[in-house]
Point group: C2
């Protein structure tokens, strides 16, 4: 079925204008759409201002689990882009909401965190107890073969795993112990991105970091981030909008665009990030096809100039 | 087909005697068969001595990649069991042999090692250059987001991944960089055991440790250890024996017994390790069925008493 679908390429001001008219809510991925690494995508500030001037809802939906919403807002501030904390949905926050609102995680239980400050901030913001994370006691190497210090803790009711540059065998061994020993222990990933972009290169991402636990416990984790539906559930828990008049804009077919498709909203692919033409046509073409493609979100700035 | 196969249970002295008569070469897994953790399986020393007195070939075939053959021999010495280095086949040694004999790994290339001393010893023993491993420069945590120190090295022709208690993000990021940037870079796992037994508990094993690289690079590694055939190739490269008169003895259906089946040798399961009755019958029964089952290798000691 999808083989016959083709994305519609937009390149004319009237096409841009029609698109803006058709949607009220614009869900944006950030890296690869608003900025690429340390560089703002040209024209994007004007486009965001144009959307605001037309009364559109803007929400930023990112799989980045390293940062809390507060921390992520600082990235917007650094680029001089207007954004409020309530408009930002990161996978760390979405995971905290999933635990508190959807799972109703017991107050007498703790979450064991493989992750950094961002996850801790968001768990605190919703009143969930946790251990691990940035605790220096778990940022260590344990001597090979001596795991006597690793004991089960029956108060751990979930393991939440995101990107953690300080991941190590002690963390994996503890998480494995909790998941396999505590009946009903939840195993949750902030997101399952295979790679993480930094400095123009790619390194193992959150999904890769959690892979040892999937392999050793043989348990299937609950994945919160794009393209999974839990991300949309948390957005809809906080914002009232009409999916029919919502568009998801991203640079990644397998996360952003698939997320839009899984969430039944229209999708717009931009070519300022990880996707290139070989993903859209030819023998290696992706099965995930967006509704629309534009070269850059900045291309919409032509409408701002017309204002 | 396998559903109708049933293992033959041996419990009488004449059954043990018949089995010994039918085979010339005995391939033993160690942990769970010869010893369980720090404890020798009762009677096993007598049984090994009996086999030697009858002129049988004895080979120890272990997936343990932490130890070189020399290091592994010390475990036998500690239990007072006669064993020579040439009789020991660990997955670290087998990986070194695979690189040197099968891949004919170029002398001007290096292997990047995620692993410990055992792998380094075995690579040295076959004259293969390597980096990583126990190098203190790679036993560190790099600050989150700053991976500028991680550069590609075009002299890396293979990544070899085994058990490494000092695994960290820098090692994963380097290995990912080499595998994805160097054309033809081999991606080899000593073994793919999901768990590692220590102190009566299970922790993530070698197969789990390499999982981030499988996930981030999307490359399928070459796996050396049991149940894969490369292990048998390296044994056959060093020892001349008739597979028809060879039996593989182990405690693990998914590594030892499947290895025997994959290698077309007879298999004997012992119940002194990870397998219990629920794996052999009932609704959760394994698809992997051994030819024979005994409670313990020590049960054969009754024949030594008759000598």
């Amino acid at each position: 079925m999808t083989a016959t679908r083709t994305a519609q390429r937009l390149s004319k001001p009237e096409e841009y204008s029609d698109l803006l008219d058709r949607f009220d809510t614009f869900l944006f991925d950030c890296d690869g759409v608003i900025w690429t690494g340390p560089t703002l995508v040209p024209g994007v500030t004007d486009v965001l201002n144009l959307l605001r001037s037309r009364g559109k809802n803007i929400l930023f939906v990112t799989n980045n689990a390293k940062k809390s919403r507060e921390m992520y807002k600082k990235a917007f501030d650094g680029f001089g882009i207007q954004a409020s904390v309530d408009e930002i949905f990161g996978s760390a926050y979405a995971s905290a909401i999933y635990l508190s609102k959807i799972l109703k995680f017991p107050v007498d239980k703790k979450v064991y965190v493989i992750g950094e400050e961002g996850i801790e901030h968001e768990l605190k913001s919703v009143g969930i107890n946790f251990t691990g994370g940035t605790d220096p006691a778990d940022r260590v190497f344990v001597p090979s073969g001596d795991y006597s210090s690793i004991k089960n803790d029956s108060s751990i009711g979930a393991v939440l795993c995101g990107f953690d540059a300080y991941v190590n065998y002690k963390k994996y061994a503890k998480a494995h112990t909790y998941i396999t020993n505590n009946p009903g222990c939840e195993f949750i990933l902030t997101n399952a991105d295979p790679t993480y972009p930094a400095g123009g290169a790619f390194y193992p991402g959150s999904g890769a970091m959690s892979a040892p636990l999937r392999f050793s416990t043989k348990k299937t984790p609950t994945i919160i981030g794009k393209p999974h539906r839990h991300m949309m559930e948390t957005i809809l828990a906080a914002h009232d909008f009409d999916p029919e008049r919502t568009i998801m804009i991203g640079d990644n077919l397998e996360t952003d665009i698939l997320f839009g498709i899984n969430s039944n909203v229209t999708t717009l692919l931009v070519m300022t990030g990880v996707t290139n033409e070989s993903h859209l046509s030819g023998e290696n073409k992706s099965d995930t096809v967006p509704d629309y493609v534009v070269q850059s979100m900045g291309d919409f700035a032509v409408l701002a100039e017309q204002n």
